[in-house]
Amino acid sequence: MNGRRGARLDELEALYRSRFDVFARVAASVTGDSERARDAVQEAFATAVRKRRSFRGEGPLEAWVWRIVFNAAHSDVRRAVQAVDYDEPVASNGHPEDDAELRVALARLPERQRTAVFLRYYADLDYAAIGEALGISAGTVAATLNAAHTALRIRLEEVRT
C-alpha cells in the first residue's frame, strides 16, 4: 500500500506473464469455458492497460486486475447466458472420486464463496487482496471463506457417510 496513483505498463506486463495461467483458470470457474476465460483475461488486461492511470495503489496491483478480470468474465457470462456446468466431467489427474465429491460440493456454493475459495487456495491471495478483487471488506472475506468451509465440510461429510 504505497498510495501512489497509476500502474506502469511494464508492471502489468510482468503480472500478465507470471500469472496468466492462474487468471485464466480461475476465470474459467466463472465462464465455464477455458477458451472464453482466456478471452476474458485478454480483454481484462487490455482494459487494465487502458485504465492503468486510475489505479490508486490502495491495494496490490494484482487485486485490482483480478477485479477487472471478474468483471470481464461476468460480462462474458451475461452475453453467453450460459451457466457454469460443474457437473460436466473434466479430466482428472489425481483422485477422481475425491475430485468428483469436491466438484459437486463447490458447485453448490454461492458464487462469491466459490470465487473466494479459488482466490485464497488457488490464486494464493490474502484476505485484503481478495476483498479488493471482489469489492468487499477483508472481514467479509473471512466470513465468506468461513461459510464456504462449513458448507464444504458438511457436504463432503454427507457424501462420505
Binding site: 506486463e13 500478465y16 506473464r17 496468466f20 495461467d21 485464466a24 483458470r25 480461475v26 474459467a28 470457474s29 469455458d33 477455458s34 477458451e35 476465460a37 482466456r38 485478454q42 480483454e43 488486461f45 487490455a46 482494459t47 492497460v49 487502458r50 473434466v90 479430466a91 482428472s92 489427474n93 489425481g94 483422485h95 475425491d98 475430485d99 469436491l102 466438484r103 463447490l106 475459495v117 479459488f118 487456495y121 488457488y122 494464493d124 468451509h149 464444504l152 465440510r153 463432503l156
Partner: protein, 99 residues
C-alpha cells in the same frame, strides 16, 4: 479445514486454453482506444451539427420573423412623417453640434 488444497483445486479447474500473448492484449487495447476515439469524433460532429442547426433556427427567427429583413408584421400600417425635415446630429469634443 476442508479436504481441498491447491492441488485438488488445480485438478478441478479447466486447463488453460492457449498461452499468454501480450501482443494480443496490446492490439486489443489499441483497437479499443481507436474505437473510443472514433466514437468521440462522431459525438463531437453530432454536437457541432446540433449547435449549428440551433443557431440557424435562432438566426432565422431573429432576422426574418422579427422584421429586420422581410415583410412587416400582419396588421401594421406604414406611418407617414409629419414633415420632410431631415435632422442630423453630430458630436464634436463632447458638445452636440459644437466646435
Amino acid at each position: 479445514m476442508t479436504d481441498f488444497d491447491r492441488a485438488s483445486l488445480d485438478r478441478l479447474l479447466p486447463g488453460t486454453s492457449g498461452s499468454a500473448d501480450w501482443d494480443d492484449v496490446m492490439s486489443r487495447f489499441r483497437a479499443g482506444h481507436g474505437h473510443r476515439r472514433r466514437r468521440m469524433i462522431v459525438l463531437a460532429a453530432v454536437a457541432l451539427v446540433a449547435v449549428g442547426a440551433t443557431s440557424a433556427i435562432a438566426m432565422r427567427a431573429f432576422v426574418i420573423d422579427k422584421g429586420i429583413v422581410g415583410l412587416p408584421p400582419v396588421g401594421a400600417t406604414p406611418s407617414t412623417p409629419e414633415s420632410g425635415v431631415l435632422e442630423i446630429y453630430y458630436w464634436l469634443h463632447g458638445v452636440p453640434g459644437g466646435g
